[in-house]
């Protein structure tokens, strides 16, 4: 099939030795990749995994002999199919890009040119290279669209990028990369921006087509479970250095480094669920909509028991964050009411008393934007102490210290600005700010999803400990099932503004499932290289069973 690949499987295709890459920031150059080696054979898929700042994207682009503006490759060698990319001229490297080495970007919506039809962009490199006529290349592109299971493969290419959904665009981009039949494709977080149910379909198409054409690939991601489905071997990076390097199964079964194990650390927490009949918050048949548009909450009822955690689960657009806005009064319900401790809360924020506001606190997904960058930690945590409890001077500072210690930080953090804190520390300060109000209920909106795994684990454990010590109630909004398992007692599953299912964790997470819950749960990648294959097999069997 790979007729143009003039080598056979097993030959070394890419050999990167001791790569050092500098990035420019704060008026000077910093090393962001510090001497990493990569060896990739024909037909092999390597997973590059690491958390934010690991330098994995930079390294992936370096495999194309490319450095972004503000980056430079300072030393090392990059041998691609026996030729030294760094010794070549920019023109020679350019001739390889898009033909023998292709790239699939994270944000397909931004990476397609809005002014051209998809098929024109798909065949651009192939036609430029001249191995196929435009008509042949387009016919081939339509075939690729079909192979990637895009709807209407014969006509979808005539559309413009903004006319196609995100998951479909990502597949068109895979077709674009595959069109010139490259030897190597770099996948740079191609499914990160997608919902889990879409992610499964895109992953499956990519896996199939890479295997079909026996193309070598580097798959960059921060999600170990995703890469486990795609890659033959995995390289773990941290701060620009290799931590561990192993064949996929071996790494999952028997990781050598503690850090590697920490990449799935959230999965190691499992909370014992508890039942309770003492309801602190009741969302009672609530409808809500933004002015003039369709209902974003449709007859939503949720009961939250005191001292326990209710997780609201759903994909983007399911209304889970809107539910939080309705509870806090930011979006007054158009129908129904919210009862707190048995009494109805005024629907709009403005009508609520300070006392009512104090009892319900909120923690946000992005700690970065949840704290004023011009306030110090002292201002941030001190304000609710002053505002709700009237604490001043010494009393305020004493309580401030207590809170900072409660979140496992220390005095040295008090006069820092948010920019001087790490992601996990920021989120801890946000937790302290919520605690400062002495709340009964805390709404946590995706509070861990922007954080690295090991940090997530720390935050979740902190929240669990605080719950035990202070008898706090949490509403935990998330799309991540591992997090749900780690923290919740009860689960509410939402889809398109409606509650599809709710109940105790053990009931929701075990069969029989309603249709959507099943789809959602089964789409979450597991730490098992055979999971995707197994799932697709089960689904196709299920489909043929119902067709019969």
């Amino acid at each position: 099939m790979s007729n143009e690949n003039n080598g056979k499987k097993g030959d070394i295709l890419l050999d990167m030795r001791d790569i050092v890459i500098d990035g420019y920031s704060d008026d000077r150059w910093h090393e962001i990749v510090k001497g990493v080696d990569i060896t990739l054979r024909r037909g092999e898929v390597m997973g590059l995994i690491g958390e934010s700042g690991a330098g994995k994207s930079t390294l992936g682009l370096a495999a194309m002999g490319y450095a972004r503006a503000g980056c430079r490759i300072t030393s090392g060698s990059i041998m691609f199919d026996g030729e030294d990319l760094l010794a070549k001229t920019e023109e020679e490297r350019r001739a390889l890009r898009g033909t023998r080495i292709a790239y699939v970007a994270q944000s397909a919506a931004a990476s397609f040119n809005p002014a051209h039809q998809l098929i024109e962009q798909t065949v651009e490199s192939t036609v430029r290279r001249g191995t196929k006529s435009e008509a042949e290349a387009k016919a081939d592109a339509r075939k690729l669209y079909r192979d990637l299971q895009l709807p209407n493969p014969d006509t979808i290419g005539d559309r413009y990028p903004h006319q196609v959904s995100g998951g479909q665009l990502q597949r068109v981009m895979t077709a674009m990369a595959m069109s010139p039949r490259p030897d190597l494709i770099i996948f740079d977080e191609p499914t990160t921006a997608l919902d889990v149910t879409t992610q499964v379909e895109v992953l499956a198409s990519m896996k199939r087509i890479v295997e079909h054409f026996n193309t070598a690939a580097i798959y960059i991601t921060h999600d170990l479970a995703v890469v486990a489905q795609m890659a033959d071997s995995i390289k773990v990076l941290r701060y620009g250095e290799t931590i561990e390097d192993a064949e996929t199964r071996k790494m999952l079964d028997n990781p050598e480094k503690e850090y590697t194990r920490s990449l799935w650390s959230v999965r190691s927490i499992d909370k014992e669920e508890e039942r309770s009949g003492d309801i602190i918050l009741k969302v009672d048949h609530v409808d809500a909509s933004y002015t003039g548009s369709a209902k974003v909450l449709d007859n939503v009822s949720i009961e939250v028991p005191r001292g326990h955690t209710v997780a609201i689960v759903g994909e983007s657009g399911s209304g889970k964050s809107t539910a939080a806005r309705a509870i806090t009064g930011l979006l007054p319900p158009s129908k129904g009411q919210v009862l707190f401790n048995g009494k109805a809360l005024p629907p709009a924020l403005k009508e609520r008393s300070v006392d009512q506001l104090q009892k319900i606190q909120m923690i946000y997904q992005m700690a970065d934007t949840a704290m004023n960058p011009r306030h110090t930690v002292r201002d941030i945590i001190g304000r609710p102490l002053e505002f709700y409890l009237g604490l001043k001077g010494r009393a305020r500072d004493d309580r401030l210290m207590e809170l900072v210690e409660m979140i496992e930080l220390n005095e040295s953090f008090i006069d820092r600005y948010p920019a001087e804190l790490s992601g996990g520390q920021k989120q801890r300060i946000c937790i302290a700010r919520a605690l400062a109000a002495n709340p009964e209920l805390i709404i946590c909106d995706e509070v861990t999803s922007a954080l690295d795994q090991i940090v997530q684990k720390g935050i979740l454990e902190l929240l669990l400990r605080l719950q035990r010590e202070l008898n706090l109630t949490y509403i935990f909004i998330t799309h991540d099932i591992a997090t749900v398992k780690a923290i919740s007692d009860q689960i509410v599953v939402m889809l398109q503004g409606r509650v599809v299912e709710q109940g105790m964790k053990s009931e929701i997470l075990s069969p029989p499932y309603p249709e959507y819950t099943e789809l959602l749960l089964s789409s979450v990648p597991e730490m098992d290289p055979d999971w995707l294959t197994g799932l697709l097999k089960a689904r196709s069997e299920g489909a043929s069973a119902t067709n019969r």
Partner: protein, 319 residues
């Protein structure tokens, strides 16, 4: 565990932290060395490009002249001598004008009048435009925001120099009218900028957090929003000042701006412009109208250089 992030932690050490066990306080934050405000200013000045240094020096000189005009000027602002159009001499360094007033003294007083009026006008424009812009942003898409934004759209559909000419013909040309008219017209542009930058801040979760806490509107505006929009607004102040300054100079040059006998650079150019015709016979005479014009140009260049540097610094690499 390293609790002191103030020093540069080499990330490879941090990578080992994971192997030693996890601690929240030991997590590596963005490494930044803390400096005091004065240290920052000093450091900024030392790394400033020559254009910005030039700009800062020029601005300081203008400020000194504006403040100490009566001490520095050899004669009074409107003091009339017997000889009009006197040539450059020891007594009258840059000669006298058509009425026999000392050009040098009028130039020095002009620093106070022309720059002062432009500065006051810009301040006034910022008070109106900035205040309304932030209010509109908080009221995003409410009736007030819509009313203000649409009115500004219409006002901005008329070129401001033309609009100023119409209004001056209606209300008459005097300094107070001039300040009010230019300030109101220019506040539309300030409104747009202030609204746009505030909108970026208003959507931040920390503003929502303050609203959820039950904070009053004023507190949110003053404590949460204002500190975060100051850098772009300061840069904009410089740009608007240049624009206002040039507009007033143009109007004065056209004879409908700052009125005599107030010493003003725009009017001075207009009053002595005829001398340019004699350049080949008497070069210094031809320079008489060029001096106030150059004074205007130099200050605007200086402010623009400083603003350019400031924008470059505060926006990182963004151009």
């Amino acid at each position: 565990m390293n609790d002191n992030d103030k020093e540069d932690i080499i990330p490879s050490e941090a990578a080992e932290l994971a192997d030693q066990g996890y601690s929240a306080a030991g997590e590596v934050g963005v490494i930044k060395s803390r400096r005091t405000f004065t240290q920052n200013v000093w450091r900024g000045l030392k790394t400033a490009p020559p254009t910005a240094v030039f700009g800062l020096i020029v601005i300081s000189i203008y400020v000194v002249f504006a403040v100490f005009a009566p001490l520095l000027a050899p004669f009074g602002e409107a003091e009339i001598f017997s000889m009009s159009y006197a040539p450059w001499s020891d007594e009258f360094m840059f000669g006298t004008d058509q009425l026999g007033r000392d050009v040098l003294s009028r130039l020095i007083y002009g620093a106070r009048n022309t720059v002062g009026i432009a500065f006051v006008t810009t301040l006034f424009a910022f008070t109106i435009g900035g205040g309304l812009g932030i209010t509109a942003a908080i009221n995003n898409n409410g009736w007030l925001d819509n009313l203000l934004s649409r009115s500004v759209d219409v006002l901005m559909a008329i070129p401001s120099l033309i609009f100023a000419l119409i209004l001056l013909s209606m209300f008459g040309a005097n300094t107070l009218n001039l300040i009010i008219i230019i300030a109101v017209l220019d506040s539309t542009r300030v409104f747009r900028i202030a609204r746009a930058v505030s909108l970026n801040v208003v959507v931040m979760d920390y503003v929502e957090a303050a609203r959820l806490r039950g904070e009053k509107m004023f507190w949110i505006l003053y404590r949460e929003i204002l500190p975060n929009i100051m850098p772009p607004l300061v840069a904009e102040f410089g740009l608007r000042f240049c624009f206002v300054f040039l507009t007033i100079a143009a109007l004065s040059f056209l004879g409908v701006g700052i009125q005599p006998p107030t010493a003003d650079w725009g009017s001075m150019v207009r009053e002595t412009a005829g001398l340019i015709q004699f350049a080949e016979y008497d070069f210094t005479a031809a320079m008489t109208p060029m001096l106030p014009a150059a004074a205007i140009a130099l200050l605007t260049v200086a402010v623009n250089f400083v603003v350019d540097w400031f924008l470059h610094k505060s926006s990182g690499l963004k151009d």
